[in-house]
Assembly symmetry: C3
């Protein structure tokens, strides 16, 4: 049984890209498309989730991610509660499950979950009552599915068919929840060729099973690529022995206009942000004509609105029968 999909095959939780099929991903992208127009209106709101209670349940702080979900929820007219669980009842010795039970009892409709542990969002979805939808806003190294979907949306907006595309993902593949989610999404959408580009120390074992080509040199990795996705380098990785200095990393894997010349002439450059300028890429690329990095941010709101409204629709239809009693 797939936790993420209801009996009618529709999205009810959004925990990871794994286990979703092409129809569902395409439906998310199409729904997001319909929300891009909302921000052009004078009143940038739709009343879809009016009176719904969405809880941003953040077990690790992330202003950036919290902001995008809060904004998406408000544009859907939902009420938003921000709960930072470091500063809350769990510190009073309450278990996670008791915290969930309490928020359920308050008739919350959706938890947007951010957690440092892989699998936390799945755990919460398995242990939450059916009337609550769970959206994964990043769990450890495991998944960051709304980020992956906004990346897919950005690609689809700029390129024709996934099946004709070559997409290169460059950087710390090993530790990146974004990369994992992207690869799976690209596969489901039938992407022609997926490459990962990184030093040997930052490639996870068994990555071939995901149907990707592995490159250790930037030039060969992005050659003739239609899409170049640069991952964010986590500073903390620098501390360990896995990576040389930032300077050294830039020399080997940093994207410059010169290097980008080997990609397709109309290649687009993506990055989940925030950019370490001069590490993953130089500013000429980040701010250049082929960068779609800020569009990713824009589309991120529309994609989150889509995921939230789809999951809520599934809950509401399920609840409809219940209301009839």
């Amino acid at each position: 049984m797939n936790l993420q999909v209801d009996e009618n095959g529709r999205l009810r939780h959004f925990l990871s890209i794994d286990g979703l099929d092409r129809d569902i991903l395409t439906n998310i992208l199409d729904t997001a498309e319909s929300f891009t127009g909302v921000t052009d209106q004078t009143i940038k709101k739709v009343p879809l989730l009016r009176g719904k209670t969405i809880v941003n349940l953040f077990f690790e702080p992330s202003t950036r991610t919290r902001t995008t979900f809060e904004l998406a929820a408000k544009r859907l007219s939902a009420d938003v509660l921000n709960i930072n669980l470091n500063a809350s009842a769990t510190s009073k010795g309450e278990t996670l499950l008791d915290t969930l039970r309490n928020l359920e009892a308050m008739h919350s409709d959706m938890f947007v979950v951010r957690h440092a542990d892989s699998g936390a969002a799945h755990f919460i979805a398995r242990h939450t009552q059916p009337h609550i939808s769970i959206i994964n806003a990043g769990d450890g190294r495991h998944a960051h599915p709304t980020q992956a979907m906004l990346d897919m949306f950005t690609i689809r907006r700029h390129k024709a068919e996934f099946k004709n595309l070559t997409v290169a993902i460059v950087g710390d593949i090993l530790h990146s929840r974004v990369a994992r989610s992207q690869i799976i999404a690209l596969n489901i959408l039938g992407t022609g060729e997926i490459r990962v580009v990184a030093p040997r120390t930052l490639i996870p074992a068994g990555i071939d099973a995901l149907g990707v080509q592995v490159h250790h040199h930037l030039e060969s990795g992005i050659k003739d690529a239609d899409v170049v996705i640069m991952l964010r380098l986590q500073n903390e990785r620098m501390q360990g022995a896995l990576l040389p200095s930032e300077h050294e990393y830039f020399k080997l894997y940093g994207l410059t206009e010169d290097r980008l010349a080997v990609a397709k002439p109309d290649a687009i450059v993506m990055h989940p942000g925030p950019i370490n300028r001069g590490v993953e890429m130089d500013s000429q690329v980040a701010d250049g004509s082929r960068s779609v990095i800020l569009q990713q941010v824009s589309y991120g709101i529309a994609v989150r609105m889509a995921v939230m409204s789809l999951a809520m629709r599934s809950q509401q239809d399920a609840g409809g029968t219940q209301d009839a009693n």
Copy 2:
């Protein structure tokens, strides 16, 4: 003169259960009853407090309590400002009274006050302009009246008449603002028999004056009880000499299914949360069929909506004359 009641005998502040009569408490319970349906609606909101400004004025942090009041206010369509006064102007040397004057001048309508000092909510109500309602969200050891009212609401939902009930309150009676508020409310509502159950060190002197029976053994205390209210054990009490270890406490006062067998067969078990599982009760009881702990949380939103809307109605009617000038 009763600070909490306006000239028409209606609630204008909600500071403590003391000083309120059975009509007012019953009116709160009846109003809460009318709000329980709101969460079953597709749009879980009523427009009663639209355009009103409610300030959560928290002098000590409590995510849990803040969340319930914020949610209740939003479901009444009010605008909510969260002000944590540790991180605010008071640290700039502003006095409490100047802070109140400022929030009044901004045309706030209601302060929900949480403070570590007993009597803080009364102090603020005495020193605030008449157009502001004060709701006590917990002041030191003194009172936590919305918690007491949600407990009364839960009892009324499950049992017939208060006058036929035996209610046992088990735990640290001495330090509990919840217990104090509960005992007074139970008395006002005419409860048949009220018992407190605790070791000698955790019973306040002169408790008999409140019309309760004192028990030092759990079994005698909950025998034939209709309602068993377990209090939360504050960890900090363990530090002092007042209590043995958590393990020892559980052995003497912890609720188990076995022990609960001496209560009435249809007894309900309550707890204000968060539960220390294995201290106040084991998980079999907490999650068992007689536990109504999560219903308390649900009803808590409805009760807070009731208290807020009643107090605001009193202010508004008073203000109506003022507007006419």
Copy 3:
């Protein structure tokens, strides 16, 4: 080119009083006048900015200032995001400009900026896309223009014509962004006589160029004044050699009823808050009949509503053409 004014001569950013003319200031005051009635309504809201996204972008914490802007925005029906940039992505190494780009990409409409560095709000306005309005909520020693405008509003409400007034500003002129903004506003509005009153160490060099009279004695400084504006003494100034003790300061510059006797009989006393009672003035003055300090707070909401709605109107009209494409 004036950054603050659009091609039709209307306010589009509100960064400082400098560079604005009397028409614009008067328009702000008149618009604020129209908003003072909103708080007398049962529903204290107008739908002017419904569906707009206003970001409180605070690079230094200020609960007091954040609260007034949040309240003004909510009374205009806008959606508000509070972002404290100490706890956010900038700590992940993101540059300020990247943070701005991201918030732009999320289709924010307005940034309310608080920053410890002088000129930060101008910097942000210069580097933000045209569809975003910037409101300066205090930048270093430079400006605090909404505070100055609420002071002007308060004066206009109590006195007839600026040209017939004598206004004395007392305190740490050197370090005060409020004083700077006030002096410029008073000049633009044609105030008869502007005096600054402070010890030599707290008067900036070249202040005469601003058209003010310098006084070092309180009595001569406030003699026959119509308006006495007391500045807040920053405690941190005491640490340095610039000032004697608080006690000594009060002896020389603290306002008492006795001293106030030399001002006009109907003089008003102002202070931006929070007051250090017994330092800038004693409580008899602060709470006395000539104090309009709490009215300043009230008017502050109306003035901020005015500035926000005017700036947004300018953006919206500009955007109107864009929408037509």
